[in-house]
């Protein structure tokens, strides 16, 4: 399958590609005992809470179906809704910019900040600006971005990248956070303890100074309502609202899929999102704004960065329903062990494994669709019913086809699969092949089980035995019954 004319997220900018493949990065992460303990504790706590928050909503199944349907409606008529949004935002005094990819979006935002004369911007927690590497682009232009979400601030001060969509510093414990603050936070009390309240207070004092001095803020958006031109940010700390209301200039960067058609649609998503992400009935702060508030300049940057290419694949486009709740991460046994950084993208976990390869093109993230046992826990947890396992399987075939197209000879795996399919297509060939498994009885004869195997099955035998093959296949036994 090719997607001519569909731009994917460009290389060399943003955070959608890792340096090493998932298996390699995950194996390294597994060696970090502290990380594994932090993750196991955090994910199991939130798993239990989410299950309870969802269970108390009687019509959850209907809400979930409605969420999926609304998003599918948006995706089917994205062109119409985007133009409607642009018209409404413009009518309310905002300026709308269109960005094909990360580079264009970064250039637009940088130029907008420059034109204000400011050398500092405060930021609302946003996945999309992490996706495009906006902080790095601003820094390159001599502009200092300051993350105001506590966890994002920890990540930024630690010169780190987020490892979770909702709780980006999930891989850090409080002792590590204290060290980061002491090292990186200007004006911090040198006797700072690692008590969570003290750490929060230190961040609060630091950020309060920034809120009052900053002239420009940058945000993402959880939702944009096409019929009214209203944008929405959902958060817990209230720092986002400070950014949205205090500075003179507000710049919002938003993926083109974040739309809902009508104001009323928010009824569905403002129930689905908090319960799925923080396991709250309602999140503490929900901010809405329509165009430019009096005395403020407002700019909206609409970003593609591989989204249209994703939309072009009928079996992959449902990934664009995602509302970034992170429920799939918290229930994923692979994410729980490997952690977010192993995925190499700021979108980790099951949704990352289907979204990142689509945004970049599968050639740039070929290991991610295989980073799952297809256990299905993500699909069950997803509030907009994205069938992630089915999509993973589909993307695996795109990876295989992409590799086959770029290599002259079939890979050993492709050759094995072809041979297996040829054998299994014919019952007589298959019967003979099954009988040949008996030869494995020789390697298993000493312990009555197999403890060592040649590559690539050796990867099985590092931690697992295999039973010694039987003397007789089932079909041979059946034939002489």
């Amino acid at each position: 399958m090719t997607f001519l004319g569909m731009p994917t997220a460009p290389k060399g900018v943003g955070h959608l590609r890792g340096e090493s493949s998932f298996p390699t990065a995950a194996e390294a992460a597994l060696g970090d005992q502290q990380l594994r303990r932090n993750l196991a504790h955090a994910t199991s706590t939130i798993r239990t809470k989410r299950a309870a928050a969802v269970a108390e909503v009687e019509d959850w199944a209907q809400l979930r179906a409605a969420g999926a349907a609304i998003k599918d409606e948006v995706l089917a008529h994205l062109d119409t809704y985007l133009l409607e949004l642009e018209e409404k935002v413009t009518a309310h005094g905002g300026t709308v910019h269109w960005a094909r990819d990360a580079n264009e979006a970064n250039a637009i935002v940088t130029e907008l900040v420059r034109s204000t004369g400011s050398s500092e911007v405060i930021k609302v927690k946003s996945m999309v600006t992490q996706e495009i590497g906006l902080n790095e682009a601003l820094a390159d232009a001599g502009i200092t971005p300051i993350e105001t979400d506590l966890a994002e601030l920890i990540v930024q001060l630690g010169h780190d990248v987020p490892s979770h969509i909702l709780v980006p510093a999930i891989h850090r414990n409080r002792a590590e956070i204290r060290e980061i603050f002491l090292r990186e936070m200007s004006g911090v009390d040198p006797n700072l303890s690692d008590d969570p309240a003290a750490l929060a207070q230190a961040a609060r004092s630091y950020l309060r100074r920034k809120f009052l001095s900053a002239q420009v803020a940058v945000s993402g958006a959880n939702f944009a309502v096409a019929e009214t031109g209203t944008l929405c940010v959902v958060e817990s700390e209230g720092n986002g609202r400070m950014c949205l209301t205090l500075p003179r200039t507000l710049i919002t960067v938003m993926g083109i899929e974040k739309l809902v058609p009508k104001w009323q649609d928010l009824e569905v998503f403002l129930q689905l999102l908090p319960r799925s992400s923080t396991a709250e009935r309602m999140n503490p702060y929900t901010s809405f704004w329509t165009g430019a508030v009096e005395g403020q300049d407002f700019h909206l940057v609409l970003l593609d960065n591989g989204r249209t290419a994703t939309l072009a694949d009928p079996n992959g486009r449902a990934a664009l329903r995602c509302i970034r709740c992170s429920a799939c991460l918290n229930v994923c046994p692979v994410y729980e062990r490997a952690g977010g950084h192993a995925y190499g993208s700021i979108y980790p976990g099951p949704i990352g494994a289907v979204l990142s390869p689509q945004l970049t093109g599968v050639a740039d993230n070929p290991s991610l669709p295989f980073a799952s046992t297809l256990c299905g826990a993500c699909f069950d947890a997803c509030p907009v019913a994205i069938d992630i396992p089915m999509m993973l399987v589909h993307l695996r075939s795109r990876v295989v086809d992409d590799k086959a197209g770029s290599q002259r000879l079939p890979s050993p795996e492709a050759a094995t699969m072809k041979l297996a399919a040829w054998t299994m297509r014919d019952p007589r060939r298959w019967t003979r092949a099954l009988r040949m498994m008996r030869s494995g009885r020789i390697i298993g004869r000493r312990h009555d089980r197999i403890r060592r195997l040649p590559y690539p099955l050796s990867r099985w035998a590092t931690t697992r035995d295999l039973p010694r093959p039987p003397k007789e296949t089932f079909r041979d036994w059946w034939s002489h019954q």
Binding site: L374, C375, R464
Partner: protein, 247 residues
């Protein structure tokens, strides 16, 4: 009712006792089960590894082999999941709409063992005798693709002499995932370690499940660790009686 056994490729070649137990059990319940030997494999390995087109002839073979039966029973939630949820789609994507509709119809008549016993035959007490302490691992595909729910434990609770102990974090995947166990061996092994540790806390003598593949994985880990816990397929437990102990 004409009933056929879908052996599954794994049981056929590597763990034939599971298929033999399924036959014994069904015969004991008065079912004259047939085993058409034209059957091969459901094709799930090909699909889930990224080779869906290679699986299409296997779908065709499945449809051709089993079209004449009223019910097809398999001792595997995963294979039945593939037949029910992948076969018709594969045929449709290959442009064979006739095969797609035949595959969809056949998917509706293909049952995982516990589904067949509880829903189709309406039995939970199959007259088994198995005097052991047993814990049950609900495999992901039986749990989330087929939604077998408590059917397997209903069957186990009715087994005479069997002491069923609950497995902590039972719904957590064992880490097998087909080729995942090879491609992501480290994460797979980490998941397996947590599963075997959970099994150890139950002090069970036997861990059972409805899928030979997951049991091969869990059993492989238990065997390597020298844990002293055996893995036994649900079909083998249900086939065991006072007169016919587990071979």
């Amino acid at each position: 009712m004409r009933v056929a056994l879908f052996i599954t490729c794994l049981a056929d070649g590597l763990v034939p006792e599971v298929a033999k137990a399924t036959v014994r059990l069904l015969q004991r319940l008065g079912i004259d089960v047939e085993v058409p030997l034209a059957q091969t494999c459901c094709g799930q390995m090909h699909v889930n590894t990224g080779y869906p087109r290679s699986a299409v002839p296997l779908v065709a073979n499945y449809v051709e082999t089993f079209a004449g039966y009223d019910a097809i029973v398999a001792p595997s939630g995963s294979c039945v999941g593939a037949i029910r949820h992948q076969h018709a789609t594969l045929a449709r994507q290959a442009g064979d709409l006739e095969l797609a509709s035949a595959a969809a119809a056949l998917g509706g008549r293909t049952f995982e063992l516990s589904e067949f016993l509880v829903d189709e035959l309406g039995v939970t007490d199959v007259g088994a005798y198995y005097p052991h302490r047993v814990t049950y691992h609900p495999t992901c595909h039986s749990l989330r693709l087929l939604r077998v729910g408590d059917r397997p434990t209903q069957l186990l609770r009715a087994v005479e002499g069997l002491e069923l102990v609950e497995l902590p974090d039972a719904d957590q995947c064992c880490g097998f995932g087909g080729t995942f166990a090879l491609k992501n061996a480290a994460v797979s092994s980490a998941m397996l370690t947590d599963k075997t540790a959970a099994i150890a806390t139950t002090a069970a003598q036997v861990c059972t499940a409805g899928d030979s593949s997951c049991l091969l994985h869990i059993g492989g880990g238990l065997s390597r660790q020298g844990a002293g816990v055996r893995t036994v397929h649900l079909a083998e437990i249900l086939a065991t009686t006072r007169m016919e102990p587990l071979p």
